[in-house]
């Protein structure tokens, strides 16, 4: 056909004229026009394979109508398609009869029964009867593909969805079709399990009950499940999920296809994290310290004890001896309530939701923000971040696909290789602490002539070529290593901010940490992305705050340092466990002991909470309504499906009660009221009213701040229809209920304060000289860590790996060590023996550890970098 100048082609589906996008498959065009063509192998997020033949339709070509797989043939102008002729019907009968030849039909004991595309489409399109009387093939049932997934090969219809997902989407082709013809099976290589961070998606994708999630198997029948739409908060990527429950227990999460965010995928950590919510060990009643023990108490008693402790600190030593650490786990409304309690009622600015693994709020909020879609469509992406595969797994999937399918060139500035290294045009393995120098060489006008920060001229040249001429660069920005100060990363970011039109996607992974920064749970900022000084007048006059702290407070490291020397009289741990979670464990332990009075508001009695004077039980995921904010600043609604254990309260309610007992008043009594107040006064949240958020047109949430027009007028276009076989199990998932009985008040006529703008910081302090026997430490976070939530999810707890000391073969050879050998790590602070691993992704002269007991003992946050020595034990 001649090249068409129009943007669309016109096809006829069952006599109806349909506009279609050139290149799209018939099956997709028909679906948009309301004609559903049955399918098994076709999946809108994967390349077509034409494997199952369920989608045969008649397409009129030069030789008349021909049976054609609708998932495999693109639309063409003037195409005539018939989906319901007797010939098509006969083909569908035949395909289904064929698919059922070897299918065991054990629906009564199959997890998929009731939500199974094979059941449903057999009923709707099948022959009703089979002529096959011979013996079906038999396999051992089920076999284990990995720690999380079972495979029942008898049920498999060889649609190639799971294997394609593993290869195309996850980049982990560890399952394959094995054998041929009627001997074909899906399987792994012998003794090499399907250990992918994304394996759970194959369970969701499988159009039959062949792939089964171990934690869910035999736990429920789909028709007994209730469900609500929500957002995963195990990291800050913001994957949309259908939360399903039965009898006040969460039973599973299913990924919802949100086009700008997760494309339907979830990581296994997110997918199976519902288990911690159900844990028997959840805190269900307040605890108050009596001597050496924490004993159960009533809420009245516990709150009185907290009020007494905090009030005592304020009255005797002043409000700046009170500090609030944590809050990233909370929904936005709860964060706002706590920010208001701390900054307005108590009057302290020693508030930090980041636990020494983040970046200053002014940097994150001040840099121009990119959306995920913008990053995936950028001219070039620069990664100056933790390993996104470990900390923001579905962002890894999106970026990987951008690199592989979209050919977006990526350059990584990283002190160790990452999951994305193999997709990067260049990986600049810099020496910890020297990112800024490398960034300068990367953007400089002259080509490099000598090695910079441990990075070779060749690598730099390749990187410069990859980003050369790019006009839209997106920098994925976070902390590449916990053993290197934030200052050096900020300095590098400032250099990259000088690239024309550079935008930044924060790779801060802690749950709702971006919401926390927006809500003011950080030193020096107020809700709405405004700086303390700039927003003081606005918040204390127009916005219902009684006062605003005079000077900017301390960040987490500062708070802990002060607490350790007894300068913090009352420390509130808001879902924070510094003793295991703060990079410098030594400092954190001293702080928890040294603080005069410690309150823990949490879901579990973690290491830090065990030291507290009062412990208040908080509601967890799916136990309360609210909103959450992801890395791009997208606000989505959280759904509630179950009630919290015992008498646990949502965090905002605790803040409201405490305010009252401290003689203040937060002035709000509901989550809705909190959101209304946020929307009314926070400059970044203007226009994002409950009504706008609840609009189905905004089911993917809203990226804030809203452009003015969008705020005034919600988009009309309805969300795309959901393909029932793409995500079996979430037909008609409902949005969380919305209540508009109380309307927000009109905004007062006062000039809103401007939002924070990025200012390049002063250059970081010079680094100590690296002596020739020392190696510079790199500490990264693994997906499955020793954190409370993972350890209380039985399916995930066992996946945490013993950390190994990873170094370049060159550095280990010097000690005569190989993988598996024992090595002693020596630092001024500590020394321990662990297993070594040869990892050439760690540059020469560095040594890498994953965060945990050992790494936490090595890190000293007062140092810009940490140098250690390796010895044979």
């Amino acid at each position: 056909m001649a090249e068409s100048t129009t943007e669309t082609v016109t096809i006829t589906v069952d006599g109806k004229q349909v506009e279609a996008k050139p290149g799209e498959m018939i099956i997709a065009a028909a679906e948009r026009a309301g004609v559903y063509i049955p399918r098994f192998c076709y999946h809108p997020r994967m390349r077509p394979v034409g494997m199952c033949r369920m989608c045969l339709v008649e397409v009129t070509g030069p030789r008349g109508p021909v049976l054609t797989p609708a998932c495999f043939v693109p639309v063409a102008d003037g195409q005539e398609i018939v989906t319901d002729s007797p010939k098509v019907k006969k083909a569908q009968d035949g395909v289904l009869e064929f698919l059922l030849i070897n299918h065991p039909l054990d629906c009564p004991v199959c997890d998929k029964g009731g939500e199974c595309p094979l059941q449903d489409q057999t009923l709707a399109f099948g022959p009703g009867e089979s002529r096959f009387v011979e013996e079906k093939r038999h396999w051992e049932k089920p076999i284990s593909l990995s720690d999380l997934v079972y495979l029942d090969r008898e049920r498999c219809i060889q649609c190639d969805r799971c294997t394609r997902f593993a290869d195309e989407v996850a980049g982990d082709p560890l399952i394959e079709f094995v054998g041929r013809g009627d001997h074909i099976e899906v399987n792994t290589f012998p003794d090499q399990p399907f250990s992918s961070y994304f394996s759970g998606n194959t369970v969701q994708l499988c159009p039959v009950g062949a792939l089964l999630a171990k934690p869910y198997r035999f736990k429920a029948r789909p028709w007994d499940l209730e469900q609500v739409e929500s957002t995963c908060t195990m990291c800050s990527f913001g994957c949309r999920v259908a939360v399903q429950s039965s009898a006040n227990q969460l039973t599973r999460y299913i990924g919802i296809d949100s086009d700008p965010v997760n494309h339907g995928w979830l990581c296994d950590k997110g997918r199976f994290s519902y288990q911690w919510v159900n844990s028997e060990e959840r805190l269900s009643a307040p605890l108050v310290r009596k001597g050496d023990e924490l004993v159960e108490a009533s809420w009245g008693e516990a709150l009185a004890a907290v009020a007494k402790g905090v009030k005592g600190a304020i009255d005797v030593h002043g409000p700046s001896t009170v500090a609030v650490l944590g809050g990233a786990r909370l929904p936005n409304e709860d964060q706002y309530a706590w920010a208001k309690l701390a900054k307005s009622v108590i009057g302290t600015d020693h508030v930090d939701a980041q636990m020494g693994d983040g970046l200053p709020a002014s940097v994150v909020l001040g840099l121009p923000r990119a959306t995920i879609d913008e990053a995936c469509a950028a001219d070039a992406v620069i990664l100056l971040a933790p390993d996104v595969k470990e900390v923001l797994p579905v962002l890894y999937l999106r970026l990987r696909s951008a690199a592989v399918d979209g050919r977006v060139p990526m350059v990584e500035l990283s002190p160790r290789s990452s999951g994305l290294t193999r997709y990067c045009a260049a990986s600049l393995g810099y020496r910890p602490g020297e990112a800024a120098a490398v960034a300068r060489a990367l953007v400089a006008n002259q080509s490099p002539t000598a090695e910079v920060g441990g990075v070779s001229v060749e690598a730099l040249t390749a990187a410069r070529q990859a980003i050369g001429g790019a006009s839209r660069v997106v920098v994925v920005l976070g902390r590449p290593s916990l053993a290197e100060s934030a200052e050096s990363v900020v300095e590098a970011a400032a250099v990259l901010a000088g690239l024309p039109d550079a935008r930044f996607l924060p790779a801060l992974s802690r749950s709702n940490v971006l919401g926390a920064l927006d809500m003011g749970l950080a030193p020096g900022v107020l809700p709405g992305r405004v700086a303390l000084d700039a927003g003081r007048a606005w918040w204390s006059q127009a916005g219902a705050w009684s006062s605003v702290p005079e000077t900017a407070g301390l960040d987490a490291a500062g708070i802990l340092r002060d607490a350790a020397v007894g300068k913090i009289q009352a420390l509130v741990l808001l879902g924070a466990d510094p003793a295991t979670d703060f990079p410098d464990r030594e400092l954190a332990r001293q702080a928890v002991v040294g603080a005069g009075f410690v309150v823990a508001v949490d879901t579990f009695l973690n290491e830090s909470a065990k030291q507290a004077d009062v412990v208040l039980p908080a509601a967890g995921f799916a136990e309360r309504p609210g909103t959450t904010t992801n890395i791009e600043g997208r606000v989505t609604r959280l759904g509630q499906k179950i009630v919290p254990p015992g008498t646990a309260w949502p965090d905002w309610m605790i803040a409201v009660e405490l305010a009252a007992r401290l003689g203040g008043d937060l002035g709000v009594e509901t989550v809705e009221g909190l959101w209304d107040e946020i929307v009314q006064f926070a400059p970044s949240h203007a226009g994002a009213s409950r009504a706008v958020l609840a609009d189905r047109a905004h089911r993917d949430g809203l990226v804030l701040p809203l452009p003015f027009a969008a705020a005034a007028e919600p988009a009309e276009e309805p969300a795309e229809p959901m393909d029932p076989t793409a995500a079996p199990g979430i037909a008609a998932v409902e949005a969380p209920p919305a209540d508009f009985s109380t309307a927000p008040a009109a905004v007062e006529k006062m000039e809103r304060p401007g939002m924070i703008e990025f200012r390049a910081p002063a250059d970081a302090a010079p680094l100590p000289q690296l002596d020739s026997y020392a190696l510079r430490l790199v500490v990264t976070k693994p997906l499955y860590d020793d954190g409370t939530l993972v350890q209380h999810s039985p399916a995930l707890a066992g996946l945490a790996r013993e950390p190994r000391v990873r170094a370049n073969h060159y550095d280990l050879d010097r000690l005569g060590l190989g993988t598996g050998g024992r090595v002693r790590v020596q630092s001024p602070r500590t020394s321990f023996v662990a297993e070594a691993e040869v990892d050439d992704g760690v540059p020469r002269g560095s040594v890498a550890l994953t965060f945990g007991e050992h790494a936490g003992a090595l890190i000293d946050v007062s140092q810009p970098v940490i140098d250690v020595r390796l010895e044979t034990p």
């Binding site: 082709p173 399952i175 094995v178 792994t188 290589f189 012998p190």
Partner: protein, 258 residues
């Protein structure tokens, strides 16, 4: 067993001639099979490393093809045809006789590891039905007595010269030697073949199968054995290697087209 140094070199030479390393998978699997007689897990893992694939991807491909073995195979792989021409000429009777003599069913290996028996579809030697192949060398018009003699000869080593060790597809090695010069040599070979096709297109209607193109043998190597297809040969005599060559050529072509 991982590939030995010589075979690693052959594998690298092969990888070099394809635009994408993965295309060299099947020829390299033949090399691995030539080395060990079948594809051990170690070998498949090694091949995966060489090609930048996962072991599962190698296993998936290896398990697809009937001439690649992911289970141990005896020193002699006896493939008896029971497809139509052989069936009519006593293929099943021959298979039954083989089962009795060897004491194994198709798919089985004798306890001494000498023989693996398999039942195969047409091996394109119908003119001499019933026929069989040992390590992919053909024997036609096989009677029960011929079969017994054949087993004896194989056991005694009398056929060592004509029946190569199991796993060896002769053609692959010859082609490899020609291509060992790397990309230029391979390209030159391909051009020669293309020129030959252009000069004399194969007669489509010819009842005889067209001789498939083969790259010229490298200097110093014996030319391919002349086509003696159709000549009746007594059993226990090695059939033409040409048939094996043809099988290999078909596979090579499919492979290069990938």
């Amino acid at each position: 067993m991982r590939l030995n140094a010589e075979n690693v070199q052959r594998a690298r030479d092969l990888i070099a001639i394809y635009p994408r390393p993965r295309s060299a998978l099947i020829p390299i699997l033949h090399i691995a099979q030539e080395q060990d007689g079948w594809l051990t897990e170690d070998a498949m893992e090694h091949v995966a490393e060489l090609l930048g694939l996962t072991s599962a991807e190698v296993y998936g491909t290896a398990s697809f093809y009937d001439m690649l073995f992911t289970e141990p195979v005896g020193r002699h792989l006896v493939s008896i045809c029971t497809n139509i021409a052989c069936l009519l000429n006593g293929g099943y009777e021959l298979l039954e006789h083989a089962e009795e003599t060897l004491g194994v069913k198709p798919g089985g290996t004798t306890p001494d590891g000498e023989f693996t028996l398999e039942e195969v579809e047409c091996i394109a030697d119908c003119g001499r039905a019933p026929c069989l192949a040992v390590n992919w060398r053909f024997f036609g018009n096989v009677t029960n007595d011929d079969f017994d003699t054949l087993l004896g000869d194989l056991r005694s080593g009398a056929l060592r010269e004509t029946v190569p060790p199991h796993g060896t597809l002769n053609r692959v090695r010859r082609d490899l030697t020609a291509w060992a010069g790397g990309v230029p040599a391979a390209q030159a070979a391909r051009q020669q073949v293309e020129a030959k096709w252009a000069a004399a297109p194969p007669p489509v209607s010819s009842p005889a199968p067209a001789t498939p193109p083969t790259p010229p043998p490298p200097p110093g190597q014996a030319p391919a054995i002349k086509d003696d297809r159709g000549e009746r040969q007594p059993a226990s005599q090695p059939a033409s290697e040409q048939a094996a060559d043809q099988a290999a050529t078909v596979e090579d072509k499919g492979d290069t087209a990938k």
